[in-house]
């Protein structure tokens, strides 16, 4: 490895060249690079100088060869526990023929990575991955051309082995020596030849994630673990409920508490800053007991939520129209109608949201676990009326978020507090109560489904009405998307957008119904909502695949055969066929106490294919049931890292089973009552079923996002298994045992 490092002269020239570039473009104020921002206990990778990305079309924006014989990959996508770092490294290493062990990755930093919006929609491999693949292929071609010119040899005659180019006559030179410390001056043309999957060495291998090795020994890793010299600790006291306003508070006792450095009151925004973290926690407790609020109760209560949502006024969006479909269904020899419901779900991150912010002069740096460093930067710019270039957002791992949780809000709040503590790193962490009460939930949804089949059970028509609140209120450059901006005096206005996007995801069946229709009502509900893993696909698929199971049962069909017969896509059939083989579906033994349910969906009707079998076991005496086993089959095209794909899919299956069987955000007129793990219980170890995942790898097809594929099908498979075991069709989530008609079984 040593021979790949640059000698001292080249090293100096490397740093000079890249340094010069930074000054030349002058996008990030130079002062950022010399601030206290660099002094952390989690050291940024030192191999490449920090400089802002210039243009996503440049190879250098994605791929850099550094001074020490390493490759650095830059990605605007954040590591959220989904293992994206290693997958992106594998893609770059493959195209450039460099051992993955000699590759680093820098994720989401407005100071240096490309702007890739949000890490969302299972789009990191498809988006960042394909950009990195093209950049790496272009870099390879560029380096081959350089060597070819040097030796006067056609590039076709050159070989590459682990970062070293070899000529037919035996000359050898490493990428690094070839570049002599210069950066790769090439544009991504998209025309550089890509490696054939047949020759893949690294893509498709279950390579280990580097971060797990660090986490098991307790190394600092999360934004929560950051420590900077002189860092102070903050806590915030949110209002008891969404609309409550601060009436009065006497701060004198607080300000006299040991260690308390500052108490901030601005409208209904209350925060404390202390020298030590526990002092801040104690001060928050006192703040909570002292604050007097004007209470403004919720008007739509949980008991009447279904009524409220299905009575949304106004005309629906006509997502897909089929004239005369109602009549077709009414006249069909087999027809059926049913209503389904999904309550609000929490992201319920393990670690309460946390961020660190630092103001120096008029420069703001925020260490944030956001899914989108650039959108958060733009939103901070709006909040503080500051030039975007004066703000740097550095992505730091948070606890798993599964969508838009409190990570953005806490970043805005940390910046608001730090503004009162200039020159100090301010670390703000939410308490569990803040997380559960203030995160934007996955919205409640309702469905009215109707369908008709001909006498032979052939699908004729499917008609859906969907009700849903917004699935995206992410930071969008408008400060009102930060929850606390709405509590300031004067409050920043918030206008809810993002209606419709995601609400009817997977709402139109892939099955061969001759006529299909979907209407969507956009509901403005009582609770704060935004993106949660899969958006509307989870509940749409739960409702659709449950309802399909009803139709299958009514028409006397087999759940597997009916699906196979009425799906056209061979890849859809393939996941179901593999599932049937792996689970011995045809010879499944029904002892009388168990039940089996199948479900299938292609996520977004456009990406990964996923089929699943759920097995439940009932205990009639105890009026309870247990999820025994989930078996899933996934096809997400070319598999980059099979172990990572399995891990994501297993996790999605277990998380979905937890949502489906246990979860519901509870609230009353005074606000959210699901404030901790006892009032918002989720799966624990004893609840978790046996989980098995099989992959259909398709190296000749493009890789597709996979992290959300399992959510919807698992929900329906469990509901279908419960029906199989008990005869009870539960149409309103969660699938609690008390909703089963136990009397009807015996």
């Amino acid at each position: 490895m040593k021979d790949l490092q640059l000698d001292q002269t080249s090293r100096r020239s490397f740093l000079k060249t890249t340094g010069h570039l930074m000054i030349g473009f002058n996008i990030l104020p130079l002062s950022f690079c010399q601030t206290k921002a660099g002094q952390t206990n989690i050291s940024p990778y030192p191999g490449i100088p920090v400089r802002p990305t210039i243009d996503n079309k440049l190879v250098d924006s994605w791929i850099r060869l550094d001074a020490d014989g390493y490759l650095t990959v830059l990605s605007g996508k954040q590591e959220l526990g989904q293992g994206i770092k290693i997958a992106l490294i594998q893609i770059a290493a493959e195209e450039l023929d460099i051992e993955p062990g000699r590759c680093h990755i820098v994720n989401s930093d407005t100071g240096q990575t490309p702007n890739e919006g949000f890490t969302a929609g299972s789009n990191s491999v498809e988006g960042s991955g394909s950009a990195i693949r093209l950049a790496a292929a272009e870099a390879r071609l560029h380096l081959l051309k350089m060597a070819g010119q040097k030796w006067n040899v056609a590039t076709d005659n050159l070989m590459i082995k682990n970062g070293v180019i070899k000529s037919p006559s035996g000359e050898e030179i490493s990428y690094w020596k070839l570049l002599e410390g210069k950066f790769i001056e090439a544009q991504i043309s998209g025309e550089a030849p890509l490696k054939s999957p047949k020759g893949y060495k690294y893509v498709g291998q279950p390579l280990e994630r580097e971060d797990i090795r660090k986490m098991v020994i307790g190394e600092s890793h999360f934004v929560h673990d950051l420590k900077m010299p002189g860092m102070v600790h903050a806590r915030i006291l949110h209002p008891p409920s969404y609309n409550d306003k601060l009436k009065s508070i006497d701060l004198s006792e607080l300000e006299a508490m040991p260690g308390v450095l500052k108490v901030i009151k601005n409208g209904s925004f209350l925060a404390v800053v202390a020298e030590r973290e526990y002092q801040a926690v104690k001060a928050r407790n006192l703040l909570k007991s002292l604050a007097v609020w004007d209470k403004i109760p919720h008007d739509i209560l949980q008991e009447t939520l279904f009524e409220s949502i299905t009575n949304t006024p106004g005309a629906p969006e006509k997502v897909k129209i089929s004239e005369g479909i109602e009549e077709t269904i009414s006249n069909a020899s087999i027809n059926h109608r049913a209503e389904y419901f999904k309550p609000y779900h929490m992201h319920a991150s393990m670690g309460p949201s946390c961020a660190v912010a630092l103001w120096e002069e008029n420069l703001l740096t925020v260490w944030t676990a956001t899914q989108g460093v650039y959108p958060v930067r733009d939103t901070l710019a709006d909040l503080f009326s500051l030039d975007k270039e004066k703000i740097r957002c550095i992505g730091s791992p948070g606890a798993g978020c599964y969508g838009h949780n409190g990570a953005d809000d806490v970043s805005g709040e940390a910046a608001l507090i730090a503004k009162e503590m200039k020159g100090k790193h301010v670390r703000l962490q939410w308490m569990r109560e803040d997380e559960n009460k203030w995160e934007p939930y996955g919205t409640a949804m309702a469905f009215r489904l109707s369908a008709g089949l001909d006498p032979e059970g052939k699908p004729l028509a499917w008609d859906s009405i969907v009700w849903s609140d917004s699935h995206s209120t992410r930071p969008n450059g408008k400060a009102g998307s930060f929850i606390s901006a709405r509590h300031l005096d004067p409050p920043v206005e918030f206008r809810k957008g993002g209606f419709s996007g995601g609400s009817h995801r997977n709402g139109i069946p892939e099955y061969s119904f001759a006529a299909k229709q979907l209407h969507l009502f956009n509901y403005d509900g009582p609770l704060r909502t935004s993106s949660l893993r899969g958006l509307g696909a989870y509940a749409n698929t739960f409702a659709m695949e449950s309802f399909l199971d009803e139709l299958i049962h009514i028409s006397g069909n087999d759940p597997l055969d009916f699906r196979l017969k009425n799906l056209e896509d061979p890849r859809a059939k393939a996941v179901l066929e593999k599932l049937a083989t792996k689970t011995n579906w045809k010879s499944r033994s029904n002892s009388g106490n168990n039940g089996f349910g199948i479900a299938y969906a292609r996520y977004k009707n456009a990406t990964s294919y996923f089929a699943v079998l759920a097995e439940v076991e009932i205990d009639i005496g105890a009026k309870n049931y247990k999820l025994k086993k989930l078996t899933g089959v996934i096809d997400s095209g070319l598999t980059i890292n099979p172990d990572g794909l399995k891990n994501q899919t297993e996790g999605g299956m277990i998380q979905s089973a937890s949502w489906t069987m246990m979860e519901e955000v509870n609230y009353d007129q005074n606000g959210i009552t699901s404030v901790d793990w006892s009032t918002y219980p989720i799966f624990r170890m004893i609840d978790v079923p046996e989980v098995e995942v099989h992959i259909i790898n398709r190296p000749e097809t493009k890789p597709m996002g996979a992290g959300e594929a399992a959510m919807g099908p698992v929900a329906a498979a469990i509901a279908n298994a419960v029906f199989d075991a008990t005869g009870s069709r539960i149409r309103n989530l969660p699938l609690k045992p008390e909703k089963i008609d136990w009397e009807a079984i015996s």
Binding site: D211, I212, I217, H224, E277, V281, A399, N647
Partner: protein
């Protein structure tokens, strides 16, 4: 009021001046820079803040630091001995048993405590043994595999 408190952490006796009511978690993280134990809920429901107290896995987010005097505290950072990972740590790497990793501290500490009293746990024993710790990513099935693997290695 701050008092002198003597804590035995990872085999070293440390004397600090602290509010004896301050929960141990904050002392570990802020005073000693031991960031393995995490704040998760602050009400002893999630297990993110577990450490070994003598040989039992216990949460540290509420219990006052003063009450840990005269105990042996082992944190995640103290599991490896002489540069060699504890078999449980190695097993978590070998099975790639993590997604976001925020619960790993609680899972590893609980697994070490479990294997001390039950060197050959069944799947159900493992579920019971790790049940105090919440995982939101759904990595549970891998934790069971990891603990089984560690048990095999320890008994080999």
């Amino acid at each position: 009021m701050p008092q002198e408190i003597k804590l035995n952490i990872n085999g070293h006796l440390k004397t600090i001046s602290a509010d004896p009511e301050e929960p141990l978690l904050y002392i570990l993280r802020d005073e000693f820079d031991l960031k393995g134990a995490k704040f998760g809920c602050g009400v002893q429901q999630c297990g993110a803040c577990m450490v070994l107290v003598d040989s039992l896995a216990e949460p540290t987010c509420l219990r006052p630091c003063g009450s840990f005097e005269n105990t042996q505290i082992t944190t995640l950072e103290g599991l490896a001995k002489n540069g060699k990972l504890h078999p449980v740590q190695q097993a978590f790497i070998d099975t790639q048993a993590a997604q976001c990793g925020y619960c790993l501290n609680g899972m590893l500490i609980s697994a070490v405590a479990l294997l001390k009293t039950n060197p050959r746990p069944t799947d159900d024993d493992i579920r019971e043994g790790l049940n105090q710790v919440i995982c939101r990513c759904g990595t549970h099935s891998r934790f069971i595999k990891a603990v089984k693997l560690a048990s095999e290695k320890l008994n080999a």
